[in-house]
Symmetry: C2
Subunit: 148 residues, 2 copies
DNA sequence: GCTGGCGTTGACGCCCGCGTCAAGGTCTAC
DNA sequence: GTAGACCTTGACGCGGGCGTCAACGCCAGC
């Protein structure tokens, strides 16, 4: 199988495959004409990589899985190093989720406060609706709360 | 106030300030010698930027807040455009958190499965210690990872 | 023999928010 | 006058995962 077909079968691009080879993931044999030559096992490797990427793993994090498959194990996660990556990623995910939830809380607090203040202003304006101009200009200048 | 002092007071660096100016956030007056000159109001702008950045806002997302302050409003979020950014960010956060939780679930499933298989192998190895090779290779090919 | 579709390597581009260096100008203190 | 602490602009680097182009080779079909 040549690079184009492998890319198609794994749902990626030739550029990505060459990049993986450059990283030392997914090395390729060469045909007589210099073309890269792949086999069915490379499809598995590649699918393993893509699956982990979908999970947000970086390419380096996929390396233990790939090496595990290359070593002939039934799954990419049949090796201790892969399990270790799982554990690391799970704790990273937990940390990340917690951080995002904390941020979400704080942002929504800010949003609620800002809306309350906006509504308070609108209510105040509605309470004393049509005011003559000199009265308006004599009132505390709403638009210039900031002294410069 | 010159750039170094402003940076120190806002807890950032001169490089960041120059970058903000380049983006059109935080423009600066110039002193006679060409040095950038800042006032107290710039401290407020900068603190607004830094706060939002801590929330994970991109610099462009902070622009409405900064412009709102520059327009003389009491808070960076006193303007509709800022509220709109809040809303957009909240929905982005929700989406992101949901995605991460989904991923977390799937990764932990994979992890659990991989550990079960490891333990099963260990138990099997302990139960029938020396097994012939053809029997080991006849193991059932349990769930494939994923395709896509 | 020519076209077109594959393949090859190499190199630069992108995004974002700066860090870091280079080569110089300005101001203060001794 | 000179050290050193600040300032200026400009330019390149980085990380991750490729996209995209250039310039060329290989091979099948007409």
């Amino acid at each position: 199988m040549r690079i184009g077909e492998l890319a198609k079968r794994a749902g990626t691009t030739t550029r990505a495959l060459r990049y993986y080879e450059q990283l030392g993931l997914l090395p390729a044999r060469r045909a007589g004409n210099g073309y890269r030559a792949y086999g069915e096992e490379d499809v598995r490797l590649l699918r393993q990589i893509r699956t982990l990427q979908d999970f947000g793993f970086g390419l380096e994090d996929t390396r233990p899985f790939v090496e595990c498959l290359q070593a002939g194990h039934p799954h990419g996660d049949s090796c201790p190093a892969s399990l270790e990556v799982y554990r690391k990623k799970l704790s990273e995910l937990d940390e990340c989720i917690a951080r995002l939830q904390e941020v979400r809380t704080r942002v929504s607090e800010q949003y609620a406060r800002a809306e309350r203040e906006r509504d308070a202003l609108a209510a105040g304006a509605a309470a004393e609706p049509p005011q003559c101009e000199w009265a308006a200009s004599a009132a505390p200048d709403r638009n210039e709360w900031e002294k410069r």
